[in-house]
Symmetry: C2
Subunit: 350 residues, 2 copies
């Protein structure tokens, strides 16, 4: 067509399958197998019907305040978005604006290069070590910003606070973003570093530990200056991104701390059981601190196991990418789901 050349062409990210059939075991998108707290659902039911017809608060003040208080920060140090994807995407646009390459690991969350390409931000990937660790020396050259998840995805590997501080300290002239999507499952947060490093941003999500992937809530903590800058960009896109239900549900989740901790403990316990069983079956994996395990089998290929599990209605994630195509990323489900998984794997790999 004549107008072909005015349209921006991109390679869209392909998310994990969301099969619409019921009765499957879904261990492919790192969702929490447990429902959010009762208070979350009640908060939505308690909305006034006129809250639907009015625009929501564009500053999301209630939720920002609840999160700031939870983390011991000021309200102007917290930015909320439609899932951490929204927050990080907007961060690429806001903070990686120097024209110099942004650094991130070669094996990491697969959206980073998609956003860099979308916004035409140059980037360089830094190879993880053989055992999937970040080498901080790789992040000390001239760059336009740094981003990595901790624990990393899809490996589950946790880096130490010292290693993170080493990188953030070495890069005072650019913004360093640590994506802590999975930190609640046993990792040590780098939020305390915010006091010392105004160039650090820490991203969190409600989609994993808070059992609320369906509600699309993510947030970022950092210095006032950086949070103001991303708020200004957000207000240039769309003033009202968080709908009425997300705001009250997000607050209610923070208020249900005990339930939240119990849920996490259950997931961790199941993860540790699953690790033992996978080892018994001949799998190897980095020691995961996330709600998934990134495992490869000694003899059977990742693709073969992926297909065999799919035939049994068990969905895990397989990345057809260099260095990791023998691995499967297996989300931690309920005890019952993981027992079924292990039973099926036992037959597949024997």
């Amino acid at each position: 067509m004549a107008f072909e050349n005015v349209i921006r062409r991109v390679d869209p990210y392909v998310p994990g399958e969301q099969p619409k059939v019921k009765g499957i075991i879904k261990l492919n998108t790192n969702e929490n197998p447990y429902a959010p707290a009762e208070g979350v659902i009640k908060a939505i039911e308690d909305l006034d019907k006129m809250d639907y017809t009015k625009y929501p608060d564009p500053e999301v003040s209630l939720l920002v305040h609840a999160l700031a208080e939870y983390h011991g920060l000021d309200d102007d140090q917290v930015f909320v978005g439609v899932g951490s994807d929204d927050v990080i995407s907007m961060s690429f646009l806001t903070f990686f604006n120097s024209g110099k390459p942004v650094f991130f690991p070669d094996i990491t969350y697969s959206f980073y290069d998609v956003w860099a390409n979308l916004y035409r931000i140059p980037f360089e990937t830094k190879a993880l070590t053989e055992d999937f660790r970040i080498n901080p020396e790789d992040y000390k050259g001239e760059n336009g910003g740094i981003i990595f998840p901790n624990p990393n995805a899809p490996t589950g590997m946790l880096e130490s606070l010292d290693m993170i501080e080493d990188i953030v300290k070495a890069n005072p002239d650019v913004i360093c973003i640590v994506d802590e999507a999975y930190i609640d499952f046993g990792g040590e947060t780098c939020l305390p570093l915010l006091d010392k490093y105004p160039n650090l941003l820490v991203v969190r999500t409600y989609s994993k530990s808070r059992s609320m992937a369906g509600m699309r809530i993510g947030y970022m903590c950092g210095s006032r200056e950086l949070i103001k800058a991303i708020n200004d960009v957000k207000f240039s896109f769309n003033s009202y991104t968080m709908n009425a239900t997300s705001i009250v549900a997000g607050v209610a989740s923070v208020e249900a701390e005990e339930y939240f901790r119990e849920n996490i403990d259950k997931v961790i316990k199941t993860r540790e059981w699953t690790k033992k069983e996978l080892t018994r079956l001949g799998f190897e994996f980095p020691d995961s601190y996330a709600n998934f395990i990134f495992a490869k089998h000694a003899t059977v290929s990742g693709k073969d196991i992926f297909e065999a599990l799919k035939a049994e209605n068990i969905f895990v994630r397989h990345f057809n990418k260099p260095r990791i195509n023998d691995y499967l990323r297996i989300s931690i489900g309920t005890d019952e789901q993981m027992k079924t998984l292990i039973e099926k794997l036992e037959k597949i790999v024997k």
Copy 2:
């Protein structure tokens, strides 16, 4: 700070005030004064608690299908986003990509130039005529795309289908976007033109006629090729933008057609009553086909009336901009709210 120069600086859009106090009359952001259908709230309450913990369908298939069916289109002709702001912002990025200036009216929705600046898209504004009409001849020069609302905002002025077809037909090599945020309040939609013009896109919102500003739902209808292109861009940002509640609420609204029509009829009736009263008080205004009236008084300035109403806890919108700073944009509320408004205005302008 050292990293100042890596941050993107933008002038954020300033949305209409959302006062947090109760008991005010809020006629400043064109919200619907009536709640959405009971079915909308019921659909949210009927969600399974496990729907919160799972990622929502990234393709928003249920809602896309409901809207396609409603408009007599195919599913692959509909794109859904987080309010029409999300849809239009993404359209700027996707479709205004030629490097040539995009054309839109000088008096129009105030986000268009914000998005153009954010994405560094050149643009030229075309002056409306003295009586706030679009002159189609202005839109026939070489350009990188065209966008305007119909009815226009903040004027409420409706343009004819013939005039729109004239513009779309004259621009086969670029994308023409008609923002029909207010079309349900008495205007004639240009959706039937989609059959003839693959370069046309029509945007709708749930925030006005559907009483659901709080839920953040907007959508766009167009040719398969264009809808595929914007979906690809969307999947490069954030696969899961529509949360679980928005999806089911959006479908339920479409299913409650009778209630929807009744609501619109009430708003139109109140608007026509308000027009008569405003005329009686010495106001002039373009004949609005939207859920607001854009009015100026013969003797009292817009700013003075704005401030006087605010002192009475009535919020309307005043734009401190060339050509329109004597006008107020007054959203249509309930009969009772508009009676109070007229009573107060009677004292202010006498």
